[in-house]
Amino acid sequence: MIHRFGVEGDLTAPSEERLAVGDPRMVDFLAKLARKLLAPAVARRHPELGSLGYFLRPAELKRSVERMTARQDALVFPRGNVFHLPPANVDTIFVYSWAISALAGNHNVVRISSRSAGAAEVILEALNETEADPVIARTQRMVTYGHDDAVTAALSRWCDLRVIWGGDTAVDTIRRQPLRPSARDLTFPDRTSWAVLSVPGWRAADPAARRAAVVGFANDAYWFDQAACSSPRTVFLVGGGGDTGGVRAEFLDLLLGVVDQRGWTVDPAMAVEKRVNAYGLAATGAATALDFPDNRITAVTLAGTDRAPRRWIGAGAFPFAEVDSLIDLVPAMNRQDQTVSHFGFTPAELRAFAVELGGRGVDRIVPFGSALTFGAIWDGYDLPAEFTRLTTLQP
């Protein structure tokens, strides 16, 4: 086992350290960490750390603490010991999950994947360089270990809350390790995310607005190779009345322009992967047309909204389907669906869509460019509430 942050030693030993919800020592530490992550040199190399730094800046932390402690009907305390199992490849998730829990005053153990690289390493470096009250290192630990069931088992018995990211297989695998009777899991299973584009809204937008929308969409799609749970995959063209070809072509042209400008590439192996998946969609009749204008963009015309793939089909792979209205899209959505990022709709249209969905699917409806922006409400959970416990007091 490699200790990446915090004092070394037995992770499950009883601790006398106490942190409060919104403990000033923790707020101070997180604010200093944010400054490091927002440093221009870091943000240039890892733009995704910029949004993390923003999430951790003092004003945001203060708001989070206020929300955690706002209620009048109960006293709010840390949940206790929290064991986090973040995904290997979305480098920043572990910080969000951990930071909210740390802000709530919990003792945390975070398992960092041995495959973590890039931004994750930068974050760990920043964590270790950030000046901290000794209580931080004694209560917050980050470790890397292999698929050692004994360690996972011990930490599972130690914790009051186990946070499992990484999809269905991860959840099922880790759930084989029993928790204490009083503990529970917070799970983040496989999700699918979509984009919806209003054809009338697009036509009404001026060229700058269209381009800005595509820049946002490109970030959403390409930052994590379209494989993050919030990355948009299928694009639904809404309200085009059967005439969407021009809008789609312009959207793809602009998209390729942005990809060009950013210098993003898709390697040959990924290009082959996309062919395999796109051909698979065609072979089963789910796709009626395939376009491979460039390795970086694969465009797929779906036979219908119900044929939109829910599994990852590669970086820069965009199925398209047409639908008359957002309401008509509702039957195609289900519990697995997480984020719908939108462009060109009125607030009333979006609200009607959300109400019609009725919580049966889709946890986030956000504008293009915000799909990957992490929030304290995630996958339908109010995370600060999950990371705290309540004591009622009747004098």
């Binding site: 990484g166 496989d190 190779d225 379209q226 040959p268 089963t284 009749g285």
Partner: protein, 344 residues
């Protein structure tokens, strides 16, 4: 008799109409294939490089066959490193054709008669049917082209020196066939022959299986060849082939250094950015083309192997000559769904 006779011009003239017919045949008989071609807007080909290719991995994710279920005579499977399995469907005719053409290809270098055969492997790879591997299938497929088989390795994978000596005593002064996977030949046969002074001078070595393990030990194909010549094995033929195009192997010529296409096959090396055909000398992804696959649409396959065409009609045999350079690394996505996906 040789199946390495057609110049590139004659080859294209002969193969193109047959391949165009095969495209039509598979479109009529394999609905998923027809859908793929329709969706990608395929209209026609006036050149072998314009024929629509399928990524070879598609046979791992889709059931692709151009024969009715009740005519399936044999289903070949290959296990990849990721645990996915290709399924290749043969009817009686296709099964017979692939055996015949593989035989014809090998006879070019082995001669018309079956030769005594030294297998550089262990018999135990054939025993456990559940773990029956591509290696086992390869050995089994090749063993029909030899007789009086001697297994060079015992059940534990240790060299059976007495067995090899007995084989050589009986067959060593006439031509015999040596078959094995490249790295096993290197590790077991070459080193043992060297240290024990075995006389393998009448052996004709047929080997395959990739160079990765040898390249890791800094043994290049050229060095492999020259070191084997040092222990008397001068007739050496590497080959390249895959279960998805069963019966077609690309065979190294007598002078080494290049693989050649049998008369019913061709290769196209593609630029992995533009997917256009690359000229000789420029490395890219290898597409293998063969007229043998009639029962499944495997006649034009894009492999995940990198290769380069060295020349056309300028080597031991006519047609294109090429080398395999290595494998395209598997695409790996970042993403949320991977906490427990093992590193490949």
């Amino acid at each position: 008799m040789s199946v390495f006779t057609l110049s590139q011009t004659d080859r294209e003239k002969t193969l193109l109409p047959e391949l165009v017919d095969l495209v039509d045949h598979h479109r009529r008989n394999c609905v998923p294939y027809d859908r793929i071609l329709s969706a990608s807007g395929f209209a026609g080909a006036s050149d072998i490089s314009e024929l629509p290719w399928l990524p070879v991995r598609l046979f791992k994710t889709l059931e692709l066959k151009s024969i009715p279920d009740d005519e399936v005579f044999k289903v070949l499977t290959s296990s990849g490193t990721t645990g996915e399995v290709s399924r290749i469907y043969l009817d009686k005719a296709a099964a017979a054709t692939q055996t015949r053409q593989l035989g014809a290809t090998l006879q070019t270098v082995l001669g018309p008669r079956r030769l005594p055969m030294l297998v550089v492997d262990t018999k135990s790879i054939l025993k456990d049917r559940r773990s029956f591997s591509a290696r086992g299938a390869g050995v089994l497929g090749m063993s029909t082209f030899g007789r009086d088989h001697c297994w060079a390795l015992d059940a534990e994978g240790v060299v059976d020196l007495d067995g090899i000596r007995a084989f050589l005593a009986k067959h060593g002064d006439e031509p015999f066939l040596i078959f094995g996977f490249t790295y096993l030949v290197w590790l077991h046969l070459y080193e043992v022959a060297l240290s024990h002074g075995l006389d393998l001078g009448n052996g004709i070595l047929i080997h395959s299986g990739g160079w990765k393990k040898l390249v890791d030990q800094a043994v290049s194909p050229a060095e492999f060849r020259s070191r084997l010549a040092g222990v008397g094995i001068t007739r050496v033929h590497n080959f390249y082939g895959m279960v998805e195009q069963i019966g077609t192997i690309f065979l190294e010529g007598p002078d080494g250094g290049s693989l050649y296409c049998p008369d019913f096959a061709d290769v196209v090396v593609r630029d992995p950015e533009t997917w256009a055909e690359l000229p000789p000398g420029e490395p890219g992804l290898i597409e293998v083309v063969s007229t043998l696959p009639t029962s499944y649409p495997g006649h034009v396959l894009l492999t995940e192997d990198l290769g380069v065409v060295h020349g056309v009609d300028d080597g031991d045999w006519p047609g294109k000559r090429f080398s395999v350079l290595g494998r395209l690394p598997r695409a790996e996505a970042r993403g949320c769904s991977d906490t427990y996906r093992s590193a490949a």
